[in-house]
Symmetry: C2
Subunit: 184 residues, 2 copies
Amino acid sequence: MTQDDRRRQLVGIGLRMLVERPIQELSVDEVAREAGISRGLLFHYFPNKTAFHDAVVAAAARRVVRNTAPDEGLAPAEAVAQFVARYYGQVDRRRDSYLALVFGSGAVGLGGEHVEGLRLAMAERILAVLDLDGDALPVAHGWTAYVEDRALRWSAVPEGERSRTLEEEVAHCVRALEALLAVR
Amino acid sequence: MTQDDRRRQLVGIGLRMLVERPIQELSVDEVAREAGISRGLLFHYFPNKTAFHDAVVAAAARRVVRNTAPDEGLAPAEAVAQFVARYYGQVDRRRDSYLALVFGSGAVGLGGEHVEGLRLAMAERILAVLDLDGDALPVAHGWTAYVEDRALRWSAVPEGERSRTLEEEVAHCVRALEALLAVR
C-alpha cells in the first residue's frame, strides 16, 4: 500500500465507526486493530489522535456533499429539490453521525471549520445550479443552515409520527430558497 | 455559601473562561483555584468534569438568550430587528466563545442539545413577539439557524472590510423572516 492508500484505508475505517458513535469516542486502537497495523504505525500516518479525528470529520463532510449531489441535467428547480430530498435522507439515515459532525467537531478544534466547508460546498452547488453570482452566496449559505435545522428537527420525530411528509418539507425548502433570494 | 450559590459561582468562573478558550480546554483545576476551593470540593458540586462543562455550556446558551432579548413594548417588527441586532452584536463580540458553544458542545455529549435549547428559546420568543401559533415554529426555528449562519460569516470579516453594514444585515434578516413565514 502507498502512504495515501493507507491513510484512505484508516480514514475509511474511522468513517464506518463514526456511524455508530460520536467522534470523540473514536478509538485509535480499534482503528489500528481493524486495519491490521500497530497503534504506532497509525501514528506514522497521522501525527496524533486529533489529526486523525480531523481527517475523519473532513471525510464525513465530503461524504455528505457527495451523497447529496443532484443528478446531472435536471432543470434548476428539480435539481434543488433533489438535493434537499437527498440531504434530508442523509440526515435521517445517519442522524447521530450528522449531529456529531456538525455539533461535535469542536472536539477537534475550536469548531466550525468542517461545518463551514460543508455549507460552503452545498451553497456553491446551489449557485451553480441556479446560475447565480457570488452576491447570492450569503443567502444560499444561510439557506443550507435553514434546511439543516429543519431536517434535524424533522428527523428527530419517529417515522409515522411526523406532521409533514418529506415531499412537503422539500417543497417548502425550495420555496424558502426562492423567497430568500427575492429579498436578497 | 449555599450549595446553589457555590454552583453558580463555579459556573460563573467557567463562563468567564469560556470567553477566552473552547470548552474542552476549560481546566477544572484553574476554576477551583480561582474559587479558592480544592479540586476535590469542586467535584462535590459537580459529579465529574463533563457535568461541569455541561453546566457551563448550558449557562452560556442561557446568557445568549438573555443578552438578545428585545426591550419590552416595542412594535413586533422593531422587536425582531432589535433581537437580530443584539444577536449579531453578541456573536461579533464573543465569536470564539459562540463557535465553541454551538460547534464544540459535542465535547460534552453527542452534541446539539444546548444548541437546540438556544434555538428553541429564540424561536419561541419570535412566535410570542409576532403572536404566531406553533405552526410557525419550524420556520422561526430554522430562521434562527439562518441568522446564526449569516452572523458568523459577517463577523468573520474584520470590521471596516465588511461588504454589508449591521443595519443592512438586520433589515435583510427581518425581511427573510417575513418571506419564510409567507411560504410556510
